[in-house]
């Protein structure tokens, strides 16, 4: 249970994901913000208005997944690092998962790294497809990894070297 362990349940995660229908249309943000805290940069950072205005700053964010283009700007904006982008149209077998990764050293594109779940446990090796670290991301690089489609709700972190 999230309040005791910091690990969201499968129900929590499913609640944050868009519908299968929307997933199949391409990249989309998944916001894992499960607790009301005073925070709204995801809304102010969303340039296309998919994340809706907050009535109260402690509201949970509301996203219209149909308007979201999966641009990934919100990933680096979220102070809680609670947002990822999932694109299941990446290939026949794999989805592209874009996650924030604030550690040194950064992986290189093409590297094979350890894919970890929300418990920090090793799931399987994954390939790094892209690493974005522009100034605008203010030291929250976004790493894109290729993840088997049945693991998009499992793999949420990476580790370089070691197990």
């Amino acid at each position: 249970m999230l309040k005791k362990t910091g690990i969201p349940t499968p129900e929590d995660i499913n609640g944050a994901f868009p519908s299968e229908e929307r997933l199949n249309k391409g990249g989309v943000a998944v916001i894992e913000c499960y607790e009301q805290i005073p925070c709204n940069p995801c809304y102010t950072g969303c340039k296309i208005g998919a994340i809706k205005p907050f009535e109260d700053i402690s509201d949970l964010p509301t996203i219209n997944h149909d308007e979201c283009t999966g641009c990934a700007l919100c990933i680096a904006k979220c102070p809680g690092l609670a947002i990822m982008v999932v694109d299941v149209t990446y290939s026949d077998t794999e989805a592209l998962v874009k996650i924030p990764y604030e550690f040194s050293p950064l992986p290189n594109e093409g590297d094979v790294v350890k894919g970890l779940d929300r418990n920090g446990d090793y799931v399987q090796d994954v390939k790094v497809v892209k690493v974005l670290n522009p100034k605008a991301f203010d030291k929250t690089p976004v790493v894109s990894i290729a993840v088997p489609k049945d693991k998009i709700r499992i793999i949420r972190n990476i580790k370089i070297g070691g197990v």
């Binding site: 604030e102 040194s104 950064l106 030291k139």
Partner: protein, 101 residues
């Protein structure tokens, strides 16, 4: 014990200086607190409690707790978590309440 690579912070160029801790020569960076230089050199046991003489180290590192008082250049009761390190400083473990000048 120094951080080599940090994903967010850049500590920049700092000037290396030498100082002594109970007679032993150690290195650190100019103007960092003496406490940072001692910790980086692995020196943690830097003080003793007044009555039972139990080993003491840093606790708060921001000048509140008085756990890190040492004798610096002959002056007692210096909070080394705040005192900037300078070239050639003499840092010594304090005995009891220290000498009042």
């Amino acid at each position: 014990m120094r951080i080599e690579n940090h994903p967010v912070l850049d500590f920049g160029e700092r000037k290396a200086v030498k100082f002594t801790f109970d007679g032993k020569e150690l290195g650190g960076y100019e103007n960092e607190p003496i406490a940072a230089a001692l910790h980086a050199a692995g020196m943690r046991d830097i003080s003793h409690s007044l009555v039972k003489h139990r080993p003491r180290g840093l606790y708060c590192a921001i000048g509140n707790c008085s756990s890190c008082m040492m004798v610096v250049n002959g002056e007692s009761n210096v909070r080394i978590c705040l005192e900037p390190l300078k070239e050639g400083m003499t840092v010594e473990t304090q005995k009891g309440r220290g000498e009042i000048l």
